[in-house]
Every structure is written in structure tokens, then in C-alpha cells.
């Protein structure tokens, strides 16, 4: 993926899980990387905690003029692999696109099919290891950016770190950076050529 292109990203999470925060930080990082147009629009059908939510993001060299929903994303980011059973996240993804998943499973075990790249990292346990736990909830809004930046080259790790530094302070900043960096290092990237992740999975 090259930096002069435009990208459309759809984020799938659960209400309260931090998908909006993750999308906002990534678009901010993209702005630092030189994209003049970035947008992150949450879609609200049900705002209940735990219900599936999606965020529609655009990243472009030019200012964004369209605010409609992203139908055919270049990238789908899934904050919770349980959502794969409820939401068809691979349905409209562009050929040669990318799916980023927070999961402890392999692409094979997740039974993904299609022509796209899959980047998997156990963001949940990376956040847990970094001590990113508030009131018993493990937060994955920064750690999910690890596999996303590991599998792309148009934003860069340094810009994601900068966005996290802008958002958090002190101990919280340390934990968020550590969680993201751990998830970055532990990313597995698999190219699905067509049918399924048989061999590499």
C-alpha cells in the first residue's frame, strides 16, 4: 500500500470496547503521516454497551468531502473475534485488501476465506500484559493498532506512537504504548491467495 493513495477502513467492535478511540488515534496518526484528509465516523444504530458498532474511516491525500458509509473497505479491523460470527466483515472487502483481527487463534482456525491479507495479533493479552486494565476491563483500543501498523506502510509506527502520546499521559501512556508495541511485535501476517488459510495458518 502506497502513501499517495486513498484508503477506506471499517472498524468492527462492541460498544464500549474502544473502537471509536482506536479509529480516531489511527486517523490522527495518518494526518501526522501527511494525509490532509482523514475522517472517522461512528455509525450508531444501537449505542448499547456490548452491541456491535462500526466506525467508517477515510484517509486521503486531499480533504474529505464525502461522509457516506464505507461500503467497500480496503481494510477491516476487528476488535473482537467473536464478531466474526455475527458480522460478515469479509463480505465487501476489496480484492487484495487487509483484515486485522484481535485474536488468539490462527487465520486457519478463524476459517477466513477470500483474496486478502490477514494480520492477527492477540491484542487482548498484549493489553493485559501491559497492565491496560480499567475496572476489570482489558482495553484494546491502542493494542489493535499494533497489527494494523505492522501490516501497512502508509502511516508508520512512529506516527501511531505520536498519536498515542497526544491522547495519554504518565502511567497510562506507558501502558498504552507498551500494549501497542507488544501487539505490533506479535503480529502474524498471512496472505490468503483465494480459498482459505490452509498451509500457512
Amino acid at each position: 500500500m502506497k502513501s499517495h493513495q486513498s484508503y477506506e477502513i471499517i472498524w468492527h467492535g462492541r460498544g464500549g470496547q474502544g473502537a471509536v478511540t482506536a479509529a480516531k488515534m489511527f486517523t490522527e496518526a495518518a494526518y501526522y503521516a501527511g494525509f490532509k484528509g482523514v475522517s472517522a465516523k461512528p455509525t450508531y444504530f444501537s449505542e448499547r454497551r456490548g452491541a456491535p458498532v462500526s466506525i467508517h474511516t477515510r484517509i486521503s491525500p486531499e480533504p474529505i468531502r464525502t461522509f457516506s458509509n464505507v461500503l467497500f473497505p480496503d481494510i477491516a479491523v476487528v476488535l473482537d473475534d467473536n464478531l466474526l460470527e455475527m458480522v460478515n466483515v469479509t463480505a465487501n472487502i476489496k480484492t487484495g485488501g487487509l483484515i486485522v483481527i484481535n485474536s488468539s487463534k490462527s487465520a486457519y482456525d478463524l476459517e477466513l476465506r477470500g483474496r486478502f491479507t490477514v494480520a492477527i495479533s492477540d491484542a487482548y493479552h498484549c493489553s493485559e500484559a501491559a497492565g491496560l486494565i480499567i475496572e476489570g476491563n482489558v482495553l484494546v483500543s491502542t493494542s489493535i493498532l499494533g497489527p494494523l501498523v505492522a501490516a501497512t506502510n502508509f502511516v508508520g509506527l512512529d506516527n501511531v506512537q505520536k498519536a498515542i502520546q497526544h491522547k495519554f499521559k504518565g502511567k497510562s501512556l506507558e501502558r498504552n504504548l507498551k500494549a501497542m508495541e507488544l501487539a505490533f511485535e506479535k503480529t502474524t501476517i498471512v496472505e490468503l491467495d483465494n480459498m482459505s488459510a490452509v498451509a500457512q495458518g
Binding site: G37, Y44, R65, F67
Partner: protein, 395 residues
Amino acid sequence: MGQIEIITANTAAAIAAKLCRVQVISAYPITPQTPVTEELAAMVESGDLKAEYITVESEHSALASVVAASQVGARVFTATSANGLLYMHEMLHWAAGSRVPIVMACVNRGVGAPWTILNDQQDTIAQRDTGWIQMYCRNSQEVIDTMIQAYRIAEQIQIPIMVCYDGFILSHASTPVDVPFQDEVDRFLPSLEDRSGIDGKTPMNVNPLILSDPRPDANGVLMPGYMEFRYRLQQDILGSLEAIQSVDSEFQDTFGRSWGGSVWGYHMDDAEHAIVSMGSLASECTVAVDQLRSEGIKAGVVGVRVYRPFPSSQIVELLSGVRTATFFEKDVSYGYQGALAMDAKAAMYESKSRPEISSYVVGLGGRDVRPEQLAEATLKCVKGPVQHCWLNVSG
């Protein structure tokens, strides 16, 4: 040039109110306006904004509170959406009739029933006859800039202004916004001169009952009747188009950005086919025009930024040269047509060269509107007029 921040339109509106050094805020939370009230309340709480934040039990009281505060000379702010705005309806007339320079952020949302929290522009369009100026923004940068302009315009002509922007589509979408520096805003918008005549010593009756005909007051001075007051409101709101234009030009000199005054054009110089719209939908239309141009259709956008006062001569001028004009709007006057199309058609009656006019109602209650749909619908109208069609609706 200010500081670039990646923020929502709601945050942009809250920051603008702070930059304009509002002195009294009263608002009742309603989705999707809520973050505006939360962020301003936090600014007042922390002391970042030296203002009185009046908590109230309803939108009616919110507007009543800022009317009163404005009447004694304070710079005031409120914000609302949808049914909250409808609940203000009585006080909207009162505010305009009282000639108080209130600026209100209206975060456009569909009106119940059935309940929706999602976007269309029925809420503000339904308030068009209240005597307020209505300005519609196409993105979050325009929201922050229009808020600052609105105080200048409102205080110059003593008429309240609604700054309208689309709920969720803009209110909750994060995009880069150039946030002006405080000292620049201070130079552009000096502190409000107290014109109330209330000094705290001499008791006076504000807004007394008035008779139909002019008559002398207790001091023998001939005072206007109801109709004279209302005639002045009409003359001044019609005349405000000039102020809106000059404030926008002055804003450009200070901040380097112009929003076109009351009406803006996109690729209209050589356009044969115009698309007319308001708010973020008009921005969406510019993408549709790019697509149409790539297919060899000479299309352009006429963006209506100010809906009241209606900029009829500017619209007539832009549309007189085109072959077709297609209207897209997120409102309807039930029993007739879309309000913008109706008004523009009435304006075009005065013109000798009238285009074929088509009109669509789109995106009610948050229904997604895509540029390719707008391009396709426009293409139909290029071939022959389409009368009041609802786009993407299953009958």
C-alpha cells in the same frame, strides 16, 4: 493559521463558543447535540471558560434563559437538535421579535415520530418562518468558522442565528480542523457592546404588550405598533445578506478562509447542469460532480449556505445559465415538496432563462446518501425533469 486539531463538529462548536468568549450558556442535552453541552460544561467547571452555565429542565427554558441574558447585554450560546428545537418553537419567535443576537448550534436530526436519533434537516427547516437567520455548514471547519462569523453578523444586525450542521455525519465525525488562535478571534470579534439600555437603577418594562397602531408612550414619544416592529425585522433580515457577505470577506482577510457568503459554487463557471443542496449533502454533491465530469457531463454544485434570508438573487444568477438544476434535500414540506426546491423555483419565476428543475428528497432519518447515487439521480434529470422524487426509498 491556527492549530490543527482532529475533532468532531460538536467539539468545533464548543471550542468556537469558547473562542467567542460567550458569557452565558444554557442548554438541555439531546442526542446528537449532547457533547456540545458536556464539553462547554467541563470548560466552565475547569475555569477555562469564564461563563455562567445555567442548567435547565427543558429546551424551552434554555432558550428563555439566553433570551433574558442576551436582553441584558450578555453574549450567549445555546445548542439543540430535533424535538428539542421543536420544543423551543415559541421562544424562537420570541427571540427574533426581541432582536437579541443569540447564536445557537442546531445539530440536525430527524424528527419523531417514529423516533430517530439520526440525521436529516426537517428540524431546522420547520423553523424557517421564526425570523432567525439559518446557516448550513458543509464540514467541521465551516462549523467553527461560521460560529465565529455568526456572532459578528448577529450582533451587527440584532437578529439571532442558527448555525446548522448534520447530526452524526458531522457532529460525531473526527476530521482535521484549523482552530483559530484566541487573539485573532478577539480582534475579529470585539467584546459585545451593551445596547440594552438597562443600567440596574432605572426600572423598565421590556417587551410590553403592544397595540396594532403606533401611539405615544408615557413621555409622549410616538412608539411603533406591532406591524412596524415586524416590518423592521423583515427589512433587517433581508438586508443581512450584505452583512453576511462582508463578514465572510473580512473573515477571509483575517483567517484566510472564505465560505462563499450566502451561496457557494463548485465548478459552476462552465456548468450546464447544476446540483443544488445544503449542508454536508452539498459536500457529498461535489464528489458526485467529479464523477459526472469524468463521464463528460458538465455539472456543478450550488451550495446554499444561508437558507434564511433566502439568497434568491444569487441563486437566480447561478442557475440562469444552466440547462438543468437538480435539488437534493433532507426535508419536505408535507403535502407539497422539498422546501429548498420550492423556494428556488419561486425565485426562478423572476428569471427569463429558467433551467428545467428536478427535485429529490434524500437521506431522511439517517438513510445513507452516496455520491454515486446523487450522480445517477442527476443524470436522470439531465435527460428529463424528475418531479419531487424520494431517492432510495421502497414504496
